[in-house]
Structure formats: structure tokens, C-alpha cells
């Protein structure tokens, strides 16, 4: 009989809870603060990046006194635990329980893809300043998923391929983490480089979290190549760059990296080993642009470190939302209008110091820098631009229609032109 009583009381309690929450929910739907759900990996393998993402968001909100278009902004920050299932669950909570007007964030592509698939059904605007998966703004575009202040994976390696040809490089080998982000970045370089007459001699794919690169470095040392391209994130990048130097390859073969390979989050953990590495990106913390320098100075003063891609991107993403909301008088409830406004916004004030707009697919068009890691006067390293490719879109010089007819870059399709 105990169980029956137990059941009765629990049901009653549950019913009471439900009755209690229902009016509360409907009351909140009226005008009030703008609610922004932030998803960031605060635990798990990429937790350090996730913390910088949140810093970037808070840094911006601090500058505008927590107000956008005259309305208070309320942040709901959730930890996606670097895990797509958790990300999905947290997104559900932010949208269905937290009644967030929009979502922003996520770092790992798999978490972003999971959330994107979910908001496809709910129609919630979802902004992804960090998620680089090409197809989210290409073949599998979702209208309410917009890459404000972000970049698609192959967007910057296309110009890097062109730059490498202009340096006179003809033979390149690539080393990359074996997952989509790596396949796409390598593919971008490989396609442009081989179509311009270059040759990709060999491609090495290694699992994430590789501790020992000597098998790859040994083979690289034996190849007759003009340069090495590497696509590494996080601790893999640190280890690769260190071991590359200690193998004596640094003196022999120039190293080109994907932008995440020489991002501040990596470079600040390294010493002289990282000096001179070339990488392509829209953001260069060592740029002499006044606006960029002001941002870097203020960020450094507040958080004690040079801003990384994560902090910068989330900061700019929030600024973008703010600019769009100003155009529509803060009426965030109208999702369609918000998406339209964001797509049409041309962002002037971003730390890049130049105006940025989106292409027809919701991906930004940038002036892409070819950057070099250089030692600053105080001994810290940072990326300084050497060459600029103006107005680069995710489709490089290809026609979007024809470009999207080719398969997405993968381990088996690298866009390599047969000689």
C-alpha cells in the first residue's frame, strides 16, 4: 500500500508543479528582456576555448551596458560539455524552457551540426561564429542558421593555395587531424593549389589527440617538398609545432598552418618554435589597424591575454546581433524579421576595422590576411598580416552553383586536379 500512497503523492506533487509553472511561462512571453541563449563547451576537451567564447560575449555586453536597441539583454549560458547529445539537450532547454529568442555559440562542429538540425525544426535563429562546417552555409543550408562573424572551413585555405603558388611552391604535403574540419581546410588548399599547377605530394591524416608525430615527421623529412601544410587544433597544434621544430624541419621546410594552428589559444603556449609560421585568416591580432589594436589592448587589459579567435568571434557575433536589432527597434520576437535584418546587416564597427557583410548563403565575405607569427616587443608572439586578399567569399573565385555541384571535401575528395 505504501507504493500507492507514494504514487498518489508524487502525482499530486507533479500536478502542482505543472500548475505552478504554466502561468509563469505565459507571463514571460510578453515584452521584456532580450533573451540570448549561449552554448559553449565549459567542460570537456575544448573547455578552454569555451571559456574564451563566454568571455567574448560578456566583454561585448559589458561595453554596451547589457543593452541592445534599448532593451535589456538576458544571457542564459549553458555548457554543451563538448558533446553533441548534451548540446542538443541544452539547446532544447534554452528554446523550450528558457524561451530564448535566439541561440549563439558552440565550438565543435558536431555540436553545432546537432543544434542546427534541431533549430531547423523550431525556426529559432541560431548564430554560429565558431562552427566552420562548410555545408551549413552551402549544400545543406538552413535559413535560420547564420554564420555571423564566423568563417567556413575552406574559405581561407583557398587563398592560401593561391599564395603558395605565388611563392613559387610547387610541391606540398599536408598533415591534418582526421575529421571534417581538417578534410575541408586541406581540401580548400589542395583544390586551388593543384588547379594552379601545384602538386599535393602526400596527405597524412592522424586521429585527434595524437601525442607523437614522429612517424609523420620522419616521412615528411624524406619527401622532396617545398612546404608543409598543417591543420591542427588545440593541444595537437602545440605538439606538432614543437615536434616539427625539434625534428629540425623548421630550418629546412617552411610551415603553413590553418588559422586555428597559430591562433592565440595555441601560440600563447609556445615559444620560439612558432615564429615564422604562415597562416590565412580574417582576423590578425597583430594588425596595425587602429580598431583592431584598440580591441586587442582592451581585451588584454581585462582578461590578461591577447584575444584568440574564440573571444574575437563571439564578441563580433554579439555586435552583429546588436547592429541588426537596432535596425528593427529591438523587436526580437519577430524571428523572420530578425533573420532578414541579420542577413542584410553590414557590420562596420567590428574589431577587424573594416565593414563585413554576408553573402547570399549567410556566410561572411572577408578581406583575408596571409599572416606570419612574429615576436612582439614584450616577447609574446602574435600573428601579423603580410598580404591581403580582398573580399574573399566561401566560394573563392568559383561560381557558387558549379562549386556546390562538386561533393563536399572529405578524406576521399580533396578537389585535387589530376595532372
Amino acid at each position: 500500500m505504501d507504493r500507492r500512497r507514494f504514487l498518489k503523492t508524487t502525482t499530486a506533487a507533479l500536478a502542482a508543479m505543472g500548475a505552478g509553472t504554466a502561468p509563469w511561462r505565459s507571463a514571460i512571453a510578453q515584452a521584456g528582456p532580450i533573451k540570448i541563449g549561449v552554448l559553449a563547451p565549459l567542460t570537456g576537451v575544448v573547455a578552454s576555448g569555451g571559456k574564451e567564447m563566454v568571455e567574448g560575449v560578456q566583454f561585448y555586453l559589458g561595453q554596451v551596458n547589457n543593452e541592445m536597441a534599448g532593451r535589456k539583454v538576458e544571457l542564459a549560458i549553458e555548457d554543451d560539455a563538448s558533446n553533441p547529445d548534451t548540446a542538443l539537450q541544452k539547446a532544447r532547454r534554452l528554446v523550450e524552457q528558457g524561451n530564448c529568442h535566439m541561440l549563439i555559440g558552440n565550438l565543435l562542429a558536431n555540436t553545432g551540426l546537432a543544434v542546427a538540425n534541431y533549430v531547423k525544426g523550431t525556426g529559432t535563429p541560431y548564430f554560429i561564429p565558431i562552427i566552420a562546417a562548410d555545408d551549413l552555409t552551402q549544400r545543406q543550408r538552413i535559413k535560420n542558421v547564420i554564420r555571423i562573424a564566423g568563417y567556413s572551413a575552406s574559405e581561407f585555405t583557398h587563398p592560401l593555395g593561391d599564395w603558395a603558388l605565388k611563392q613559387g611552391y610547387r610541391k606540398i604535403a599536408t598533415v591534418s587531424q582526421d575529421y571534417t574540419f581538417g578534410h575541408e581546410q586541406c581540401g580548400g588548399l589542395a583544390q586551388v593549389f593543384t588547379e594552379g599547377g601545384g602538386e599535393i605530394v602526400q596527405q597524412f591524416w592522424h586521429p585527434l589527440n595524437t601525442a607523437d608525430f614522429s612517424p609523420y615527421l620522419g616521412q615528411l623529412a624524406d619527401l622532396k617538398i617545398d612546404a608543409i601544410f598543417t591543420m591542427e587544433t588545440g593541444a595537437d597544434a602545440t605538439r606538432f609545432i614543437q615536434q616539427y621544430a625539434s625534428f629540425g624541419l623548421k630550418a629546412k621546410t617552411p610551415l603553413l598552418a590553418a588559422m586555428n594552428g597559430t591562433d592565440q589559444s595555441v601560440v600563447r603556449t609556445l615559444g620560439d618554435d612558432c615564429e615564422g609560421i604562415v597562416s590565412p585568416a580574417h582576423f590578425a591580432e597583430g594588425s596595425d589597424n587602429q580598431v583592431t589594436q584598440k580591441f586587442v589592448r582592451e581585451y588584454e587589459a581585462k582578461y590578461g591575454k591577447i584575444p584568440s579567435l574564440y573571444g574575437f568571434s563571439m564578441y563580433s557575433g554579439m555586435m552583429w546581433i546588436d547592429a541588426a536589432l537596432k535596425k528593427m527597434d529591438g523587436k526580437v520576437e519577430d524571428r523572420e524579421a530578425l533573420i532578414e535584418a541579420v542577413l542584410k546587416t553590414e557590420l562596420d564597427g567590428s574589431p577587424l576595422g573594416k565593414s563585413v557583410k554576408l553573402d547570399a548563403f549567410g556566410n561572411p565575405i572577408y578581406d583575408v590576411y596571409i599572416r606570419k607569427v612574429i615576436k612582439r616587443a614584450d616577447g609574446k608572439f602574435w600573428n601579423v598580416p603580410t598580404t591581403t586578399y580582398p573580399a574573399v567569399s566561401q566560394f573563392w573565385k568559383y561560381d557558387p552553383e558549379t562549386y556546390m555541384k562538386q561533393p563536399p571535401y572529405s578524406r576521399t575528395f580533396q578537389g585535387i586536379k589530376k595532372a
Binding site: D2, R3, R4, F6, L7, T11, L14, A15, M17, G18, A19, T21, A22, R25, L42, T43, E78, D79, N83, P84, D85, L88, Q89, K90, R92, R93, E96, Q97, L108, A109, N110, L113, A114, N117, Y118, G121, A133, D178, Y179, T180, H183, P207, L208, S410, R411, T412
Partner: protein, 322 residues
């Protein structure tokens, strides 16, 4: 849960005493009424509780009744999820066919696991199933062309008529009720009694003439079938799968749910699943150190209620009688 009460009713309904059947009916009815009082997000959580409850129960068949705790059931569960999503998104099969295929794949994987693992017990069984699960995880991670690697595969798997949260919840509830009944019958059948015999003394069962490995093989495969049902439901719930679904963490979570609810209680699995999912969601709203809180809770459960929540509750009336 249902064997002790029945002195006053002798009529039997589908193998249950009248009392048991009415309790079961009340529980299902109460569960069916939940969407009327919960928000859509909470209905989502309740759906997840049911799905993971099935997974934990399938582990309980082995852990609680055959004395073999498996750390490979997350992989079996996940294989089903992968197959369902792959079959409906890439191969374009209708949801029902994809569902059946997913369960079949999970059962096959379980049969392979069973072939390799049934001759071991104790910590060796634990390690062997763990290793087998890791192999599946590795394949899902590296076989990029099929599994999408780290990114996983996405797609709308759920049948159109079940798109609404509430409808899907009711469908899962109906499925869970059927599966739970099947498992309950399974562990109480003569075959289930044999499994218990093996748990209590393998050598005695062998000397009585029972083919111990064969029984364990069938028990493991059946348990894998149920885990596969849970995995297929999960595919329709999430519309997304990635290697974390087949990972070790998934297996461990299933085992923890079983343990928290009560090993060998079968229905405790739902209580364990509810407790863990609720805790995860409530605590993580307040602190990013929610995993620590979860860990401490487990330690407390192990110290004060090693028999699990249901086990503890069941012990209370017994003590009063004494």
C-alpha cells in the same frame, strides 16, 4: 516489485496477478497523463527517461539476473541508433523498416559480443565488454564515409504522425510498456530462473546439466535486442547520432542508471534513469560543476543505499513488519 503482493487476489492477467496488473495500469496511466501537466521540454526529458530506462533495464537483465555487468551496452544501443538514421536518411527506407533494421543490427552485434564474452565473468566480463564497445566506438569515429565520423549523421527520422512532442512521448510510453512487460516475463520465465541460477552458482548449474554458455549467450542476445529497441527510439527522439552515442560514457550511464535504481529490480531502471536525468538537468542549470555534484550523489547512493533507490524503498516495509 510485483511478486510479494498478491495474497488477496488470485486471478491472473497475462501472467500478472490482478493486483500487479492494476498497479501496472495505474503507473502507465499516470505516465500517460504527464504531458498534460508538463512543458514540452519536460515532456522531452520524460521521453528520454523512458528510453534510457529501457537501456538500463536491458543491462539489468544481465547485471541483475545473470550476474554479468556489461560495459558494452552503450555500443549496442548506439549501433541501433546509427543504423536507424543511416537507413532512413542515406538509404531512404520508411521509418518502420529503419526501426526494424536498427533493432536487428543491435541484436546481431549483441550476439557477436555474447560469443566472445559469455565464457568470462566478473571483472573479465566487464573489461571484455568494455573493449568490444570501444571497438564499435572506434569504427563509428573512423569510418567517415558511412558514419560521418566525428560529425555524425543527421536527418528527420521520426514518422510524420509522431512529430508532436506529446504524441511521440505516448508512442514511446506504449513501446516502453510492451518492452518492459516482455522483459519482466523474460526474467521470470524458467529461462530467467536459469540465469539467476547461473548468477548464484555457475558450477552448480553446470553440474545440474545446464549449458551455461548457451544460456548466457541467449540472455545476452535478448538483452541486446532490448537495448536495440531503446537505441532505435533514441534515433527518432534525437534525429541525430554521433560517436558519443556509442561511447563508453553511454554504457557507463546506462549502468549507473541501473545501479541507482536498484540492481535486479528491473523497474528500478526507470527510477534510476529519472533520477539521473533530472539531476543532470537541475544541477547543470545552477553550476558548471554539475558532473562533480553527480559524482558525489553516486558516492552517497553507494554508501547509504547500495541496493539502489527501489531496493531501499522495498526494504522499508519489510523492516516495519519485523
Amino acid at each position: 516489485m510485483m511478486n510479494a503482493r498478491s495474497s488477496f487476489v488470485s486471478a491472473r492477467v497475462a501472467g500478472m496477478t490482478g493486483g500487479d496488473a492494476s498497479i501496472a495500469a495505474i503507473i502507465v496511466a499516470a505516465a500517460a497523463a504527464l504531458p498534460l501537466v508538463l512543458s514540452t521540454y519536460q515532456v522531452g526529458l520524460a521521453t528520454e527517461v523512458l528510453i534510457f530506462g529501457i537501456l538500463a533495464m536491458s543491462i539489468d537483465i544481465l547485471g541483475g539476473f545473470a550476474g554479468r555487468t556489461s560495459l558494452g551496452h552503450g555500443a549496442i544501443f548506439g549501433v541501433s541508433t546509427y543504423v536507424v538514421i543511416y537507413a532512413s536518411v542515406q538509404a531512404g527506407l520508411p521509418p518502420a523498416a529503419a526501426f526494424a533494421l536498427g533493432v536487428l543490427a543491435a541484436t546481431l552485434i549483441a550476439a557477436i559480443f555474447a560469443l566472445l564474452a559469455v565464457r568470462t565473468s566478473g571483472v573479465y566480463f566487464l573489461l571484455l565488454t568494455l573493449a568490444l564497445g570501444m571497438i564499435v566506438w572506434g569504427i563509428c569515429l573512423r569510418w567517415t564515409q558511412v558514419t560521418g565520423g566525428e560529425n555524425g549523421i543527421r536527418g528527420d527520422v521520426r514518422p510524420v504522425i509522431l512529430l508532436a512532442h506529446n504524441r511521440f512521448y505516448w508512442a514511446v510510453l506504449a513501446g516502453a510498456a510492451v518492452v518492459t512487460y516482455a522483459m519482466w516475463r523474460f526474467v521470470r520465465s524458467p529461462f530467467g530462473l536459469t540465469l539467476r541460477g547461473i548468477r548464484d552458482s555457475e558450477s552448480r548449474m553446470r553440474s545440474l546439466g545446464y549449458n551455461v554458455p548457451l544460456h548466457l549467450f541467449i540472455g545476452f542476445t535478448a538483452s541486446g535486442f532490448f537495448a536495440g529497441v531503446a537505441g532505435a527510439l533514441y534515433a527518432m527522439f534525437n534525429n541525430f547520432v554521433s560517436p558519443s552515442t556509442v561511447g563508453l560514457a553511454q554504457s557507463v550511464e546506462g549502468v549507473l542508471m541501473m545501479v541507482a535504481g536498484g540492481v535486479g529490480t528491473l523497474f528500478g531502471s526507470f527510477v534510476g534513469a529519472a533520477a539521473i536525468i533530472a539531476l543532470e538537468n537541475i544541477v547543470s542549470a545552477h553550476t558548471e560543476r554539475w558532473q562533480m555534484v553527480l559524482g558525489i550523489t553516486f558516492i552517497l547512493i553507494m554508501i547509504f543505499a547500495p541496493e539502489g533507490i527501489i531496493g531501499k524503498l522495498r526494504a522499508i516495509p519489510a523492516r516495519k513488519v519485523r
